[in-house]
């Protein structure tokens, strides 16, 4: 009765958020005195056996061609079959964009209670209780899963990846796969940039930048930090930056290790999207900006002066100056 972890891939590579799920799932298995197994759908170029170093003993691989494009309905049906064949009692996803689509479908299919957006290991001292964030990061809830089979979707960036030693046994899992009803006709990827929801560091800027033509200093800072760029809602609404950079209540909720906010006042709607960041740095010339109350570090100063200096100082410590 293993813990089964869904390993999400893109263009043949295992996503970072899935490595978090693997490490987490292996720890849950250890807690429950059982083994961890992974499941991969579709063809991959990464060496699956090497994923053993994250603590999985076995990987079920369903390589069917029909799984090369994502269709949550098709994926959930295949996963249900793998889960049933392996008698998994706990199934772990990353609560990334794929996990958010598949885990609820699998929950219905297996009639297994789901905790989406888990931020800690389950407490098994009295039942099976998992902590998750609620109220857009302003509170947490402890959720008891009352079904025999349990599904946990782990919040990205909430659990640290630990790589050890070991190889996993890769086993082909043969199953008839339905033809997807959804046809993927185009994929556009921002190449070379760090995906916002997976980024460990995010550099974000707001109206204080005064116009889209001034974003060069924000991008330079992001580049030296290997960070993703983000923006506040007014900036996205004014089309200074694309909508997919908007973080906040109605944009994306993110939880990076470091969030650097430049020229953003920190309205409560913005904070709701970023308050789970581990360290928050605020650069704003207004000492009364509410964001300073939610920040760990701050500089009251002019972004056009401070940000280039920061980029230079980081280059120095990274030895790239």
């Amino acid at each position: 009765m293993p813990v089964l972890i869904f390993i999400d891939t893109a263009e043949g590579h295992v996503k970072k958020s899935s490595l978090e799920a693997l490490t987490y799932g292996a720890k849950v298995a250890e807690q429950l005195g059982t083994t961890a197994e992974g499941v991969v759908l579709g063809s991959v170029t990464d060496d699956l056996a090497a994923l053993g170093k994250y603590g999985v003993k076995k990987i079920h691989h369903v390589a069917a061609e029909a799984l090369s494009h994502f269709d949550a309905q098709v994926f959930a049906k295949v996963l249900a079959q793998v889960a049933e064949a392996s008698s998994a009692k706990v199934i772990v996803f990353s609560n990334n964009l794929s996990g958010k689509a598949i885990a609820p479908r699998l929950s219905v299919r297996l009639k297994a209670g789901l905790v989406s957006g888990a931020v800690a290991l389950p407490d098994t001292s009295n039942g099976f209780v998992v902590r998750k964030n609620v109220f857009s990061g302003k509170a947490f809830a402890n959720i008891a899963v009352n079904t025999d089979v349990k599904i946990i979707a782990l919040s990205p960036n909430a659990y640290q990846i630990i790589a050890g030693e070991g190889t996993a046994e890769v086993v082909a899992f043969n199953v008839t796969v339905d033809a997807p009803k959804i046809k993927v006709t185009a994929v556009t990827k921002a190449s070379g940039e760090v995906p916002l929801t997976e980024a460990e560091i995010v550099v974000s800027a707001g109206r204080g930048m005064k116009g889209p033509e001034h974003w060069g200093i924000v991008e330079d800072l992001a580049k030296v930090l290997h960070a993703a760029t983000a923006c506040s809602r007014p900036v996205a609404d004014a089309h200074w930056r694309p909508h997919n950079e908007h973080v906040g209540q109605t944009g994306f909720a993110i939880a990076p290790n470091l969030y650097i906010a430049i020229g953003i006042s920190g309205a409560i709607q913005h904070l709701a999207g970023v308050n789970r960041s581990k360290v928050i740095v605020v650069i704003n010339k207004d000492p009364e900006a509410p964001f300073f109350k939610a920040a760990d570090y701050g500089i009251v100063g002019d972004a056009f002066d401070v940000v280039p200096k920061m980029t230079e100082a980081i280059k120095k410590i990274k030895g790239t100056a």
Binding site: A10, F70, A72, Q73, L97, K100, A101, P104, R105, K111, A112, G113, L114, S116, G117, V134, F135, S136, A139, F140, A141, N142, I143, A144, N146, I182, K183, T185, V187, T188, A190, E193, T197, I201, A236, N244, Q249, T250, A253, N257, L258, Q269, A272, K278, V279, V282, F292, K293, A295, D296, Y297, G298, I299, V300, G301, D305, K309, M310, A313, I317
Partner: protein, 247 residues
Amino acid sequence: MKILVCISKTPDTTAKIAFTDNNTKFDTGGVQWIINPYDEWYALVRAIELKEADPSAVIHLITVGAADAEPIIRKALALGGDEAIRVNADNHDSYYIASQIAEVAKQGGYDLIFTGKETIDYNGSSIGGMVSELLGLPYVSLAAKFELAGNKATITREIEGGEEVNEVELPVLVSCQKGMAEQRIPNMKGIMGARTKPLKVVEPVAVDTLTSVVGFGLPPAKAGVKLVAPDNVEELVRLLHEEVKAI
């Protein structure tokens, strides 16, 4: 074409978050309730736009909640929509709520079901996926654009670090996020009209819950901001590098 839009009642973004009954219940005292922004700005408004393009379309709204959800569903009707259904049930887990919506949807024969991508209170992002599985429908999550030509929907959805365009035949269930539509404010005609639009109350079907809330808590408060002088940026970088090892 029949469209069903799922509407949820959530506390206003600025509401004070506190708990009662030994931290097992959300303290609703003094809370302003709103339509969950994703349901309103993106799901409902896009459905209204589709009806504007095709006046023969019919929009039904559904909410699962007690009688105190009615002001919210009336407000949604003021924006648009032809009639509303309230499933008279208290808040349970997402499986319970999804099952109630699926039950109504089965009888309604909808071509298109829209939900918001998540609610801002429970942040589950589960209802769309669960309802689609209960109905055996394809599901496109986190949609930022939705176009319809005859029976074929072309949907742009978010993927990690990019976007993907999906084509799918109706019926389909779509969870909506930023990009789908722009926020609207109900006008006086809409508000007056909403008073007389049908609001049907149906009793819930018996369904198990799969999870339950044991308790709530608040994250530890921040220690307070450490300010660094603007002419000492190097000190900030040093702190980030050495003190918190964030860079």
